[in-house]
Symmetry: none
DNA sequence: GTTGTTTTGAAATTTCTGATACAGGTTTTC
DNA sequence: GAAAACCTGTATCAGAAATTTCAAAACAAC
């Protein structure tokens, strides 16, 4: 056990220790640990009863947890949290070096760094007017909205659909395979919006779908990577997202960010009609149970 | 709108109020006030007795002080301090993003800030051992991997499936509805891994699926929010992600981050077998064209 | 299956904290 | 200078919170 320096910038934070010992905990202890880490350290400043209730375990389990961490009792534990918090808040260094990426899962941390970089780059490269125009389009109740995507991005289209379909009507998901959408195309026209997700290894069938829809007079919104899918040629609006990651696969986090931001904006804009819809859905869900 | 503006720059801090009302305090109250301000807000987080001793006054005087500030009692007072502290500590993240949110789409920029904050918090709260254990599990060719999720998170499960299915064999997606998976359960056993996505408004059918699978001897991996789905009780591994966003919906970006990081790690680990598989898929795709 | 071990929560117990009543002292006011 | 109003601390109480005990349940090993 080497004796680390006692300098204030160093943080042998309790959180770190917990993370490190996580696998040696019992199931109940893990629940306590997760709760604490998720709201570190505030979750631990409540009473034992409150903490136990939030973690979904019993009070004694909480006590055993803190004892296991080496504290004499719950008050001791809380005192430590307070002191740690105070030290961290007072130390200006703490703010400078936020993430202790020293050890642990370097893979996860560096991956996250890359993704965060993507998000920032994505936001900066989006034309605000373009974003707003898409929001306006998706908020127009007269338009019918269809979502589609490729092998991987299809999941994002589904994600968008599952939210939008609650917020407004006339929302659906179109499978990528031509055989599945060819027939529908006769009904597609000026009042339809196609939101297409398509990134590198652009997918023929999605491209074909958008081209066909455009010919019918539909409006195409494209979410793609910075190299732009060929769909950009026919798309009315294009929102590119950075996708590079330290992986053999691209990261879709930027696309998800745009998707969620769009959904949030549309929900806000249609709030008067969206709210009762959301409540109705909630009611139906509870009835089923 | 019940809640006053949540804007971070605003500071209706209790400290400010105390400073303002300072001259209307009695001598004892002033001592209490000074102590509190000198170590704000930590001095107030101790017990009444401790606080009284440090301030050099009696416990009842402390009680009168907090009552005078408008709190129902000492616990109320402490709760307020904790909440204020928490809000203050979390806000720097929001400010951190110096993206030029001045113009056009402030919605997008602030949304991105919140998401980035989520990602950081998510990474910090993941136990490396837990992450690694999940990677090992998903990299085990003897295990069969099944992915599932709820209304919204189902899309993430599909996203994971579409990647994993290329990297390794025995990967599939299970629809949430019990009618669709009940039959399959007879084949689920010790050699099966269920990766479940479940966030707030935890979904009964997904919970039921995991419980059933656990009884059959399967291993459950759970990706959830910090409040932990009930599935955590039966899950072998739990990876929580922060989901709060300035929206009527939660953000799944943290879950996506974890998903992509897992896929990246598994791909790397299984690279020897994954590479030929990926090439084969590529070949098939080009042939079809 | 059966046994031994570990984990867990309900309930009883103990400790301690926050709250209150009251009396002594101080300042204010006429 | 006396009375009133006001602070303040001591002693005490009520209640809540942490802790311990113990038996049931889950789990693992055989």
């Amino acid at each position: 056990m080497r004796r680390a320096s006692r300098n204030p910038s160093e943080q042998p934070s309790l959180a770190e220790r917990i993370r490190h010992e996580m696998d040696s905990f019992t199931p109940s202890e893990k629940r306590a640990a997760h709760l604490l880490l998720s709201h570190y350290p505030f979750a631990g400043l409540d009473t034992v009863a409150e903490f136990a209730a939030r973690a979904g375990i019993s009070a004694p389990s909480v006590l055993r947890f803190v004892t296991r961490l080496g504290f004499g009792g719950f008050p001791d534990f809380q005192k430590h949290l307070r002191e740690e918090l105070e030290a961290q808040l007072l130390s200006p260094l703490a703010k400078a070096g936020p993430t202790d990426k020293s050890q642990g899962a370097p893979a996860l941390a560096s991956f996250a760094d890359a993704v965060i970089g993507n998000l920032k780059a994505t936001v900066e490269n989006i034309a605000p007017a373009e974003f707003d125009a898409v929001v306006a389009l998706l908020s127009d109740p007269r338009q019918r909205v269809h979502l589609t995507g490729g092998r991987f991005t299809g999941a994002l289209a589904r994600y968008a659909e599952s939210h939008l379909r609650i917020v407004r009507s006339h929302v659906d998901f179109i499978e990528g395979q031509p055989a599945l959408w060819r027939d529908r195309m006769i009904e597609i026209g000026r009042r339809d919006v196609i939101v297409a997700f398509d990134i590198r290894r652009y997918q023929e069938d999605v491209i074909a779908l958008c081209e066909t829809a455009t010919k019918q007079g539909a409006t195409v919104v494209l979410l793609t990577d910075p190299w732009l899918s060929p769909i950009a040629r026919v798309a009315r609006h294009v929102l590119p997202a950075h996708v590079a990651a330290p992986s053999n696969w691209d990261s879709s986090a930027g696309l998800l960010l745009l998707t969620e931001a769009l959904v949030a904006a549309v929900t806000k804009r249609l709030w008067d009609t969206a709210k009762p819809r959301m409540e109705a859905v909630e009611r139906l869900r509870s009835e089923r149970t």
